[in-house]
């Protein structure tokens, strides 16, 4: 027999977006707020919201969970305006707020019983789910510990278990990895991938730019605006203006090599690496396809064999910085014009 949740999952698996924002704004005045957001979140994906502190990530989340109403545009979650959510609609969302808001004088188990109860779960359902979720976040052995006796990482995992206790379809996590060590962050992202693979949809904000790699889609925010939404790979391409082949040759041959490569039609432009003598970043459309061609030509026609030749994958820190710079430049141009 199919449960309601399973039916819903199937429905959204057929291509329906769970969250849709169209021209959404919420102006707090003085430049604060979010402005003209367009966003779709398909079922079964992890959308990462990345941006500096104060860029509007939490405001966006609060519009999606119905705490804030937009001043312009529309927000639809499960096809419904969040402000008109029924209790059943609310039960389909699991929310992990930014700070630890569970109770220090309650044990891990009692905290989860409390959360399950406010979602109307029966005691037996709660007991089953508590065991499942505590095992999932590897806190089962700590179930009798008080909230005040948990480390920061354990508290975040308890929050995750609390958001999952009622088996929601959409999980909204506001900076779930803030302030915890990289190993634990990786484990939390493993948990998120497991949930995504179970068909759950996730909206996760983070300040750690590197975590973009864990997401299916990444939305970059700055000053209340969405700069771009893309896959992690797409973001790298956007940041670099295409793909890049990194080669290192004898510095004496660099001028000749650069002149030769600039003549090739598939090369967009070339960047000399000042910090790396003999290093070149060659911008092409498709690095995987052009790398062997380029190596052949250099070897056959210039008799040069690079010491290093590989597709260049920038770090997400670099991607983020480049995207922000591009946006700043675009904004400046816009203001001048």
């Amino acid at each position: 027999m199919m449960t309601k949740n399973m039916e819903t999952s199937l429905k959204y698996a057929n291509g329906t977006d769970i969250v849709v924002l169209e021209g959404t704004s919420l102006d707090f005045g003085g430049g604060a707020g979010v402005f003209g957001l367009d966003l779709q979140l398909p079922q079964g994906t992890i959308l990462g919201l990345i941006g500096p502190s104060g860029c509007g990530k939490t405001t966006l989340i609060r519009q999606i969970n119905g705490v804030y109403a937009p001043t312009a545009g529309t927000v639809r979650v499960f096809g419904t305006n969040p402000r008109q959510f029924s209790e059943a609609d609310r039960s389909r969302i699991g929310y992990i707020p930014q700070q630890f808001i569970l109770y220090p004088h309650l044990s891990v188990e009692e905290n989860l019983h409390f959360l399950g109860s406010i979602y109307g779960m029966t005691r037996s359902d709660r007991k089953t789910e508590i065991k499942t979720q505590l095992e999932f976040v590897e806190l089962y052995d700590a179930r009798k510990r008080l909230g005040s006796q948990l480390s920061g990482g354990m508290q975040r995992r308890l929050m995750l278990a609390g958001a999952l206790i009622h088996n929601p379809e959409l999980i909204i996590a506001d900076e779930p990895t803030a302030g915890i060590d990289p190993i634990l962050r990786a484990r939390i992202w493993e948990n998120f991938h497991t949930l995504r693979n179970q068909g759950k949809t996730m909206l996760v904000t983070t300040q750690y730019v590197g975590e973009a790699a864990y997401c299916d889609q990444v939305a970059v925010m700055r000053q209340g605006r969405l700069i771009t939404i893309d896959t992690p790979r797409g973001l790298q391409r956007q940041a670099l203006g295409g793909e890049v082949i990194h080669i290192q040759i004898d510095p004496k041959q660099i001028t000749k090599t650069t002149q030769y490569l600039e003549e090739m039609p598939q090369v967009d432009w070339i960047e000399r690496k000042v910090s790396e003598p003999g290093g070149l970043h060659i911008h092409v459309h498709d690095a995987g396809k052009e790398l062997p061609v380029l190596l052949n030509r250099l070897s056959n026609e210039l008799n040069i064999t690079p010491q290093i030749a590989e597709p260049y994958l920038p770090t997400f820190d670099e991607v983020f910085v480049r995207l922000i710079q591009k946006d700043q430049e675009a904004q400046a141009e816009k203001e001048i014009s």
């Binding site: 609060r62 705490v67 109403a69 402000r83 808001i101 004088h105 409390f114 406010i118 979602y119």
Partner: protein, 498 residues
């Protein structure tokens, strides 16, 4: 309904576990106040202000007043540092702060009083305490009455002696008048004239020494009143007799003489009665008797115990509830609650039930512990439980109201302290409400403790059931406060959403 209750119970269980996990909180909330009350009972001596005094007594003394007795009387209520004769020295002691009050008793002579002068007992103080001032003035009034009574007692005793002497003179005059045949020849005329004129000053002497005529006013001392009356009549008769003896007709002389003899007899009868009546009845004809139909009043510790119980239960409930919402708001839990399928009323009911249960248990334990201080246990347990429940309910409502308008813990605690202050002044805890004008009553009736004090005194001390007014008052406060909390919180939610 089942889901509604599950959510309500979620908050009930959460609050219950949180409080249960803080045994020190329980201990300080119950044990602390009990220790305070025990310390009060063990050390309390008097609620009267402590006022030290020095008495300045005239060197020559005061007729009818014994210095030692006066000092003993004053020392019963003041802390008497000494009795001296030097007025300046006493005033310097007051100036130097060695004493709080100086009492100067003037030199008083009987003839001064007869001449109509009113000597003053002068009382000086430098206090800033209105209670001490009222207490000093009241005691000064009482002391002056004491001095007056002592002096009057002496004078009344002298009047008794004089009355006996006058009675003897009247007896002699009667006998002398009896020797007059009625012919009123020159010899008889001279004798009658001599008797009459000798008797007149005797009457004036008696009038001079009798206790003031004002004491007989209002028929409080009829013996004295009759005596004054008869003396005045006889004095008038003697005057008329004197006149007719000088130039009256024989029958008129005879008639006046007979009338005078009758008046002398009447006066003697009044004097006999006056002599028989104890002097205290003449100068202080009314005395008081006091009967407490319950036997006696309770001591102060027991009397205040129900009020302290009401105060503790109220403040415990208000403190818990005032932090109950504000902490959730500060933690950020409200955001999670708003995202969850939860109504604010479910949160409010769940938390209220937990706090009411906890506070009622604590109140019950406290009542049991109070019996160790010999405070009577409630005679009607059901009434007591109903009152305790409604007090907890109304106080939790007030606490939530404080919480709903507070942004931080410290704001909530400040408002709770303000309520404590209001409760001490405006609930009849120390000062009776009848001492205030109606605006204060309005405040008083909106404080749960006002109703609870009367109710707890009824069921614990008086042994009667709790009045309907007290229960209705608490129900009204509960309805009002919960209504306001719902209104305020919904507005706050709406503001966020809009």
């Amino acid at each position: 309904m089942k889901i509604f209750l599950t959510k309500v119970i979620a908050f009930f269980a959460k609050e219950f576990h949180e409080v249960r996990r803080q045994p020190r909180l329980m201990l300080s909330l119950i044990g602390g106040p009990l220790l305070v009350l025990a310390a009060f009972g063990a050390t309390f001596q008097s609620s009267n202000p402590f006022v030290s005094t020095v008495l300045v007594w005239p060197k020559e003394g005061i007729p009818g007043l014994d210095q030692d007795q006066a000092a003993k009387f004053i020392g019963a209520n003041f802390y008497l540092t000494g009795v001296i004769n030097d007025e300046e020295k006493a005033m310097q002691m007051l100036e130097d702060g060695e004493v709080d009050v100086v009492q100067i008793v003037p030199s008083i002579q009987t003839d001064q009083l007869s001449e109509g002068s009113r000597p003053e007992v002068k009382v000086f103080s430098r206090t800033i305490d209105p209670n001490a001032e009222a207490w000093t003035r009241s005691l000064a009034f009482s002391e002056t009455n004491y001095f007056n009574r002592q002096i009057l007692t002496l004078e009344a005793a002298k009047a008794h002696d004089k009355a006996i002497e006058v009675d003897s003179s009247l007896d002699g005059a009667l006998k002398d008048y009896g020797t007059i045949t009625g012919s009123f020849d020159n010899t008889e005329l001279e004798r009658a004239y001599a008797i009459t004129t000798e008797l007149q000053p005797v009457l004036q002497e008696l009038l001079a020494i009798l206790p003031p005529e004002s004491l007989s006013q209002g028929n409080l001392a009829p013996e004295l009143s009759n005596l004054y009356n008869d003396i005045h009549i006889l004095a008038d008769d003697l005057e008329e007799l004197e006149q007719v003896l000088k130039k009256g007709e024989l029958p008129v002389r005879q008639e006046r003489l007979e009338s005078t003899i009758e008046e002398i007899k009447s006066l003697r009868a009044s004097i006999d009665i006056f002599i028989e009546v104890p002097t205290i009845n003449i100068i202080s004809p009314i005395r008081e008797t006091y009967t407490n139909l319950r036997g006696s009043a309770y001591n102060l510790v027991i009397f205040f115990a129900p009020s302290v119980l009401a105060l503790l239960v109220q403040q415990m409930a208000v403190t818990l509830a005032s932090l109950g919402l504000v902490r959730e708001r500060q933690m950020g839990s409200f955001e999670m609650f708003r995202v969850a399928p939860l109504r604010f009323s479910q949160l409010l009911i769940g938390k209220s039930l937990a706090y009411i249960l906890f506070v009622s248990i604590a109140g019950g334990i406290l009542t049991g512990l109070l019996s160790l201080l010999k405070v009577p246990l409630p005679v009607i347990p059901l009434d007591f439980l109903a009152l305790l429940f409604l007090l907890a309910l109304a106080s939790v409502g007030i606490g939530f109201l404080i919480s709903s308008v507070s942004r931080t813990d410290s704001q909530a605690i400040q408002l709770t302290m303000l309520l404590l202050l209001l409760s001490i002044f405006f609930t009849g805890f120390f000062m009776p409400l009848t001492g205030f004008t109606w605006p204060a009553w309005l405040i008083a009736y909106l404080i749960p403790m006002t109703h609870a004090i009367t109710g707890f005194q009824d069921v614990m001390l008086t042994g009667t059931s709790v009045g309907a007014g007290e229960l209705e008052g608490l129900i009204f406060i509960a309805l009002l406060s919960y209504g306001l909390v719902l209104w305020i919180m919904r507005r706050q939610y709406k503001q966020v959403l809009d």
